[in-house]
């Protein structure tokens, strides 16, 4: 290959921009925009923006001391749970500070729903937390029923609880897989996806979809159970306990896994409540708050289950909590199948409902925590304000509290144990 003399070659247009920018900055007395590291161009290194910091927190995170540097765990990343950017300030291998930058998956669902009828809203909320779709639909359905003043029939409530608990089983199973994957174990994620596949085939028999189910309606559910669904449910139920135990056995007693999760990211109960962390993360820190027991909705008053907690508060406890909840959900599914009454599955509700003006708040227990919907109706066919509170969004605030002092390799492990899903975070 001929050697091109850097003096005579034609510069790339991008380089022309850079030359221009650097020249202008030199004229203005600013440092060049290229990496302040000088010769060594780290492609992930973040330059400190030359504008003044907008807030105190920005000032804090952009204050680089000797030996520290800012790196991105950027939006394109194999291990963040969706598109999220983590601005990490490290000193060598130790994380000093961390700042999540969100919004890469923001779709404006809340605003979109103001222009959609109430039934359409239930389809818009599906892809929020796309691993727990039934929960995403459950809360708005309850809120709209409160606004409209209709109670779904008993059978519909039982079917709702059934699919919701099935959803919880596979969502928690996937968390186990992601946690192992972020630590380098290649196999548990595939087992978790096999579990999910079985359940998703089950749910496709009842709702027609495999992922974004569009199953709930204001006043009930869309379809009744059918023979296909019941037969698959029976097959699934006879295998699931064995499968779950086989999958968890591979990780739970694994020395390497334990060494990487025990005493990592310990969150105390008080901190968790203050941070707004709910769901299995909160219960793993010892606080027995479960929306299904604290403020019962649907038919959870009629079902027998305890609120499980773990004493640790570390990543291992969060992992054990989810396994315990999988088993609890399977127990709940048994009770639901046992007690399911006959009857209609949807109240007679028109396609476009116009509830009287008012407000309603509905909170449910999603696999990530307390998922709630606050809906305001103005009497028209579209909701006036549709606000969702997503649990992963709030749980992400635990990251800057848990990470400092840990190694970079633990960032992904701790985040996987908090189990955020970016669809919910970014709405």
């Amino acid at each position: 290959m001929t050697k091109i003399d850097p003096e005579t070659r034609i510069p790339d247009p991008i380089e022309l921009d850079r030359i221009e920018e650097d020249r202008l900055r030199a004229v203005a007395g600013l440092a060049p925009m290229r990496s302040p590291g000088g010769e060594y161009a780290g492609f992930d290194q973040v330059g400190i923006p030359d504008r003044p910091p907008q807030t105190e927190r920005e000032r804090e995170i952009y204050a680089i001391e000797e030996g520290e540097m800012l790196i991105n765990m950027g939006p394109q990343h194999p291990s963040t749970h969706g598109v999220m950017r983590l601005l990490v300030k490290v000193r060598g291998e130790i994380v000093v500070d961390i700042d999540p930058v969100l919004g890469y998956l923001h779709r404006g669902i809340e605003k979109l729903c103001e222009n959609a009828t109430y039934t359409t809203v239930l389809t818009y909320v599906d892809p929020m937390d796309y691993l727990s779709t039934m929960h995403n639909e459950h809360a708005p359905a309850i809120a709209f029923e409160k606004l409209y003043g209709v109670r779904p029939p008993k059978r519909a409530e039982y079917i709702r609880a059934l699919v919701v608990e099935l959803n919880r089983v596979f969502s928690h199973g996937l968390m186990m897989g992601f946690l192992a994957l972020d630590m380098g174990g290649l196999t548990p994620i595939l087992y978790a996806f096999i579990n999910r596949d079985e359940i998703v085939d089950l749910l496709s028999a009842i709702s027609g979809q495999r992922m974004l189910f569009n199953f709930f309606r204001v006043g009930g559910v869309n379809f009744d159970t059918n023979d296909e669904f019941l037969s698959r449910l029976g097959t699934w139920r006879s295998n699931v306990m064995k499968n779950i135990e086989m999958n968890e056995r591979m990780i739970t007693d694994n020395e390497i896994f334990r060494a990487r999760t025990i005493d990592m990211g310990t969150l105390s109960g008080q901190d968790a409540i203050s941070l707004g962390v709910t769901g299995p993360n909160l219960r793993a820190s010892g606080v027995p708050f479960d929306v299904r027991r604290a403020h019962p909705y649907s038919i959870y008053n009629e079902l027998e289950f305890d609120v499980i907690t773990q004493p640790g508060g570390d990543s291992y406890a969060r992992y054990l909590q989810r396994i315990a909840e999988i088993k609890q959900s399977i127990h709940l599914i048994d009770q639901i199948i046992d007690k399911m009454p006959h009857g209609p599955v949807q109240a007679q509700v028109p396609g476009i409902i116009r509830p009287k003006p008012g407000r309603a708040y509905a909170a449910i227990e999603s696999p990530r925590g307390l998922y709630s919907v606050y809906a305001i109706s103005d009497g028209g066919p579209n909701p006036y304000r549709f606000r969702m509170r997503d649990p992963s969004f709030i749980s992400l605030q635990a990251m800057p509290k848990l990470m400092p002092g840990r190694l970079v390799a633990d960032t992904m492990a701790i985040m996987a144990s908090l189990d955020p899903v970016m669809g919910g975070v970014d709405k």
Binding site: L16, I19, E20, R23, L24, V27, R51, P52, Q54, T55, E56, R57, E58, L102, G103, H106, G108, E110, K111, K146, L147, Y148, G149, V150, R151, P152, G219, D271, I273, S274, L275, G276, V277, T278, F289, A294, H295, A347, Q348, P355, K356, P357, G358, R359, A360, Y361, A363, L370, S372, Y374, S377, D378, R385, R387, R389, F393, I394, Q397, K401, D426
Partner: protein, 232 residues
């Protein structure tokens, strides 16, 4: 269908007060709140599962502190903090939902915020987890939380100037036409220092036959630099 409807209507007109119609358990909470926080809270509504109060924005922080710290009230968990826009000329509302072990109902606190100057004291000192809620409310509605250490945009890019959830925000096509009322310096172009770009560069690019130099269009004062590609 009557057997499927609830025995009492669940809805009422926006902003109108209603008398107590709810079960006894909620009544205990209402009486307690009337006793402790009569000055600040105005009782609006009681439902089978929610008790609703209204408060002025300036008093919101103290009221929430009392609700959290008082032993009989003990609303330890902030379940949700969201914002509502009632239209141009009306007010904003910041709506807090709280939970307590001692009371079976959700407590909804609606804080009236002036739309022209939307300022609310922050509650991040009470609940750290309110930080993201407040950032989202700022990002989407433009409500400024005084005392918040990190009031940046969270979903939109840091130099985005409009507030999408407001009722006068037109759809994204015309985001440039929406009322731009950014608060942080990065969102206000009038604060940007552009003088350093006023010099003509030494590097002259060779004239391109393909590029036509479009004449600069005059922009009148007060007009946003919107998209001129179609008549509005």
């Amino acid at each position: 269908m009557e057997h499927l409807r609830r025995p009492w209507p669940a809805a009422h007109a926006l902003g109108r007060r209603r008398a107590l119609t709810a079960p006894v358990a909620a009544g205990a909470l209402v009486r307690l709140l009337a006793e402790r926080l009569e000055v600040d809270l105005r009782h609006l509504w009681t439902d089978e599962d929610t008790v609703e109060y209204q408060v002025d924005a300036a008093r919101a922080h103290d009221v929430l502190r009392t609700l959290r710290d008082d032993e009989d009230l003990a609303f330890f968990m902030l379940a949700d903090a969201g914002a509502v826009d009632y239209g141009t000329g009306e007010r904003f509302e910041v709506v807090y939902h709280l939970f307590s072990w001692k009371h079976p109902s959700w407590l909804r606190i609606r804080a009236r915020v002036d739309r022209a100057d939307p300022r609310v004291p922050t509650i991040t000192d009470l609940w750290e987890g309110a930080m993201f809620h407040e950032r989202e409310m700022y990002d989407m509605m433009g409500i400024v939380f005084e005392g918040n250490r990190d009031l940046r945009r969270i979903y939109m890019s840091p130099d985005y100037r409009s507030f999408p959830h407001r009722k006068d925000f037109v759809l994204p096509d015309d985001a440039a036409d929406s009322a731009a009322a950014g608060v942080l310096p990065l969102e206000r172009p009038e604060t940007w220092d552009l003088t350093r770009f006023n010099q003509a560069p030494d590097v002259t690019f060779p004239p391109s036959d393909l590029r036509e130099d479009a004449p600069a269009e005059a922009v009148e004062d007060g007009e946003t630099l919107g998209d001129k590609s179609r008549p509005r």
